[in-house]
Symmetry: C2
Subunit: 298 residues, 2 copies
């Protein structure tokens, strides 16, 4: 097939799971000039009809095998917990050389699963587009969801470089910056900057119920805990498929908080000030960098 | 003096420290119909001139005693660390019956300090208007900063009910909802929903620097850590004046995270799901309530 990704060389792209991410990929493909057929594959007719109504896809089907058999590119956008049966249904129906990726938020287990079930003749590499929100459903899909966002592509030592290059180009075509790293490195770093913050937001909200403390919470609390309004099933899957890195990140956080507790206990205001100032400096620099890259929402 | 707060009965109101909060009080007083004199008191001529230029105050002075001597209401808006010398300068210059409050984010130590230094002839009660942002300076002051925000007024057992009632009416006049509780209860609850979230945001940012993990952080991380861009001095003071409640809140959080760590370790997906779902439910209800009360920023 095509060695270089070119949107004009593709006739058919299938998206499995047409929610916020899958729907946004459909809309972004059209906006980027894709004139072929976008097939939406799903479990519920009502969701698929909604995706059609929002013009996120051109055709819909409940039949995974039928839906992937014509595709030159397949993007799996379902929750991690549903990957295995879907991969099994796909496996026999795939054409050799079909490009396949997914959008799961953890990569080690997902990439292993895909490698085990998908035939060696297809070109699979995992992806993690870091876009979205706590909202779910195709009604929140946007053609510009990936604009100025980061997508991490996660080849293993077995992934041909051409496959990785092709997939990066796909994500760049719909607006993302791309980076590559191993699934292991991805999961370790994301545990610290994404999965751990989610666990903390969850803990803070659960703690805030006692004595109705939450009734005194303000906009700072609303921001800090925004992600705790995310989908419990999705996050159960993320935690469940990244247990090792999560435990390590939790231990690091508990050590950091225990150090701070010691500073409070001995009233070491200088150490507390330095800790706060260091964090402010790191964050302010990061925000400035994001503004420069235009990655912050407007 | 006046038993019921009435903006038309006041000639002179002094604001000590004209930054974001002090400046917003000045602007809000004018917007609420106050036609008397707003005196801005500060340490630096440049900041005071800026407050004048933004029309947040009508007169300015570097002399605390002179600035408070004519006032019928004084609002102390300086960082906690500067309270003691300011209170000492005020003490001799105050008229009997002058209403005094402050806007500090912790109340036990501040209220004790004020009670110790201010003469018994004045009417002091502490306040904590829960408005503002990580921004500082009068250039961010807004007449509507307190609209639909919560202000907690913290009488002790010695505070006359009339003083508390008067001060609530003052905050309500510039747009706040008000609640009353003891300084102790305030500090315990705020540790959980405000001070602890700040410490966590600080810890997360400091942890994110290792291996440049922060370069993979997305909008979720930006929200969770927004408050870590706050003023280190201000937060050092908050932590330092609420050490006991903070240590208790930290211990509760570490226990909550340790429980979650155990669930991860034994791959208890049901317990993890329930934990996430409970948190989502609590937060979604709180957000719905806030929307109903219009307390969320537009």
């Amino acid at each position: 097939m095509h060695n270089n990704f070119d949107i004009n060389n593709l006739d058919t792209i299938s998206v499995i799971g047409v929610g916020l991410l899958g729907g946004s990929i459909g809309l972004a493909l059209r906006a980027a000039g894709f004139n072929g057929t976008r097939i939406g594959i799903g479990r519920r007719e009502s969701s698929l009809n909604k995706a059609l109504a929002y013009e996120a896809v051109d055709e819909i089907t409940l039949d995974v095998a039928a839906g992937v058999s014509r595709a030159q590119l397949i993007i799996i956008c379902t929750p991690i917990g549903r990957f295995e049966p879907i991969l099994q249904k796909m496996a026999a129906a795939l054409n050799a050389g079909t490009y396949i990726t997914d959008v799961a938020s953890t990569k080690v287990e997902v990439v292993k699963l895909c490698g085990r079930i998908l035939p060696a003749s297809v070109k699979f590499v995992g992806s993690h587009p870091m876009a979205g929100s706590e909202k779910t459903g195709v009604e929140f899909a946007r053609a510009d969801l990936f604009e100025h966002s980061l997508c991490i592509v996660t080849p293993t030592t077995k992934t041909p470089q051409a496959t990785t290059r092709w997939m990066r180009k796909f994500w760049e075509t719909i607006g993302s910056y791309t980076l590559t790293m191993t699934p292991e490195k991805h999961d370790t770093l994301l545990a610290r900057v994404s999965h751990l913050p989610h666990a903390i937001a969850t803990a803070l909200v659960n703690m805030s119920k006692k004595d109705s403390a939450i009734d005194l919470a303000g906009p700072g609390f609303a921001d800090t805990t925004r992600i705790a309004s995310g989908d419990p099933q999705l996050w159960m899957d993320i935690f469940g498929t990244n247990r090792k890195a999560m435990i390590k990140a939790l231990d690091q956080l508990i050590a950091e908080l225990t150090r701070f507790r010691g500073q409070l206990d001995r009233d070491d205001s200088k150490a507390i000030h330095d800790w706060l100032a260091k964090s402010k400096q790191i964050r302010d620099r990061w925000i400035a960098k994001r503004h420069k890259m235009k990655v912050l929402p407007p």
